[in-house]
Amino acid sequence: MLPELGHFALILALLLALVQAFFGIAGAHLRRDRWLAAVGPAVAGQFVMVATAIGCLVTAFVSHDFSVRYVAENSNSALPLFYRVTALWGAHEGSLLLWIFLLACWTLAVAVGAARLPPRFAARVLGVLGVVSCGFLLFTLATSNPFLRLIPAAPDGRDLNPILQDPALAIHPPILYTGYVGFAVAFAFACAAMLEGRLDQAWARWTRPWTTSAWAFLTVGIALGSWWAYYELGWGGFWFWDPVENASFMPWLVGTALVHSLAVTDKRGLFKSWTLLLAILAFSLSLLGTFLVRSGVLVSVHSFAADPTRGIFILVFLVLMIGGSLALYAWRAPLLRSAAGFELGARESFLLFNNILLVIAAAIVFGGTMAPLIADALGLPTLSVGTPYFNPTFLMPVLPLLALLPVGLHANWKKGRLRQKQRQILTALAAALVLSLAVSLGVFAQAKILTLVGLTLGPWIILSSLLDPLDRWRRQLSLSRSVLGMTTAHVGVGLFVIALTVVQSFTQEHDVALARGEKASVGGYEFRFEGVRGLEGANYEGVRGSVVVTRGTVPLGTLYPEKRRYFVQGTVTTEAAIQMTRGTNLLIALGDDLGAGRWSVRLQVRPLVSLVWLAALLMAIGGAVAGRDRRYRLARSPAEAAPAAAGAKQAAG
């Protein structure tokens, strides 16, 4: 019964989403304020229905109901409870349901917060979110119903994809999706502003906290995915420019631009049409990200649920959503031009450069990701785009972006003159440069240009970000959450640059031949080879080496790299041993048997690699803090708040 109930709840949710979309948009457009009263209850009802549906599916998973096809295909009676719950989003259908559920959560949050918005505008925002929800519900019900029965029921399930049976990857999709879906709110605000034909600074103030929060979630989601790739795949890398990674990275880049452009719209009432376009783009790329991964349009190592038959529906949906909003933009954005100007060198100009460079970076990633597809469409030979393209081209916009950050932070609004901070910024730069030289030459005894640049930029960004907060702190002034969050995020950027530079520049790798008891040292670590022993697995045999690692006189433990030969196909695989010690990553891989007890061994020392993810986490924390600034909650003057709040309360049910 429960699966049918869930199915029915989804259908009701679709009807409520239609009500929400129609009465929200049409009611506001036709100025029938009584219609608006339907919107709030529809949002609440839809949330309840979607929550019911997702509850039914979770119950089916937990209780091993293999008469539900989706459960039979993605679970197994031996699967632990934790993975039975996370198996919900282990494949296409459940992922969509999760998407819809998260959208319902965000929509509910917007409806609750809508008491501070003018009622018609709030109705439009919720109406647009209703349209998005309609699209997803329709798609799910028409092509990807997770509640389909399987008659007769399977005695046992096919099990969850083994790749997904990992804690980090199990919680990665919900967090990433929360970020993706969060951009739907910014998108809805943008569409509502265009429908209304009015966009003021208050609009930016309403939109900012939602956008910043979504951005923070997306940051954590991407970092989690990268962390998983690092320790699980064991290739010694944390970013592969894989289409699936790029699909989440593009909305992040545009979202970052949006966060900054909103700041200008908020403070100065500028960049209006640009902000709108970025809001549309960020959500469009999120949609593209959701679907590219799932539709099989782009085939990558990640795409575990490729199904081309759904492609057409997806394309139509994308055309309606993205095409529709871009058409609205072409029509209404010209009405929203900003009047004020600013001088070159003013803070606005720095943020403009920030936006342009971030969008160029996103375009570079987009081009690289889509190039194989475009080549295919034009009938050109199969094209593979990888790190050799992405790394150098991506640096071109990003290096100037990072170099502008420490200066732009201290620029004044409107006027093109730096404050008295000029000397402090230069002092910070000098300090960073000295530090960079000291670290490269002193600690690692090598210096390439890019290493020096990275090691200078990172500390410079950190020092420069801290100038203002330190100054306020010394004068015992309070720090707003906005400033605190911004500082945290920028320090995160600086740390990220440092970590990336160090990992890329100072990873040491040595291939050595070792006999039992012999030692080799790499990067200050000493590796003592203790010989190999035979190894027998279920479907392979092999050898396991032991390597004792010490630093100075401190023993750090023993690592066991393996080499396996799978019986049937005779395939030989190398299972590297990886260990993290104080942020430095040691990787040992066993090479060939050189005879007489000697083995070739690859030793790799990667310093500071943990800092990469910690820095990303810091950026996300910064976003979360900034999004909770008090200013956003006092967005309306008390005089107009009183009657409007009454109307909105009605609208929000």
Partner: protein
């Protein structure tokens, strides 16, 4: 045209590319087995239907055969079964079953209900043989030639289309086994 329409124009261009991409994507979704063109993994399994017999690759040497991986827990296998029955009746090529991670009782009941198209069925309780063959999920069907080399692998249910388009043309004599 105003500059605000530029994003819309670019998006239209992208849609065209995506549309063509989707039309091409079915061919890319196929999982090609590394086994194709290589010697089929050896196996010797207890027979499902006869407790005294073993089903082994040794016995099948020098013959073409189809190895079909199935299980009663497998949804698509039920859909595939009527096609397997037809293949079994046609007698063009022996059909060997690999009953994967299954209960013998269930499997025998299934065959009693739906018919048995297989010449022999090996029981792979712990799934070791399936691992050897690189099975992703049931059903899968492997075509093996007289030299014991895997010629073709079909992922998913065997259909009339895949039978006539993929398997028949690979058999040595132009078979007259259209039914």
């Amino acid at each position: 045209m105003n500059r605000f329409a530029l994003p819309l124009a670019l998006f239209a261009l992208l849609v065209v590319v995506l549309a063509i991409g989707i039309r091409h994507s079915p061919e890319k979704g196929i999982i090609v087995s590394p086994l194709v063109g290589r010697a089929a993994p050896g196996f010797a399994l207890p027979s499902l239907t006869d407790a005294h017999q073993r089903v082994s690759s040794q016995e099948l040497k020098g013959r073409w055969y189809l190895l079909n991986v199935w299980g009663t827990w497998c949804v698509e296998c039920r859909a595939e079964h009527s096609m397997l029955m037809q293949v079994g009746h046609a007698g063009v090529i022996p059909l060997i079953g690999l009953d994967w991670k299954d209960e013998d009782d269930h499997a025998l009941e299934w065959l009693a209900q739906l018919g048995n198209p297989y010449q022999a069925i090996g029981v792979d309780h712990d799934g070791r043989t399936a691992i050897d063959w690189g099975v992703y999920g049931a059903p899968e069907t492997f075509l093996v030639n007289t030299q014991g080399v895997v010629v073709y692998k079909l992922v998913g249910p065997l259909t009339r289309e895949s039978w006539t388009r993929e398997i028949l043309p690979r058999l040595p004599r132009p078979a007259s086994a259209g039914f």
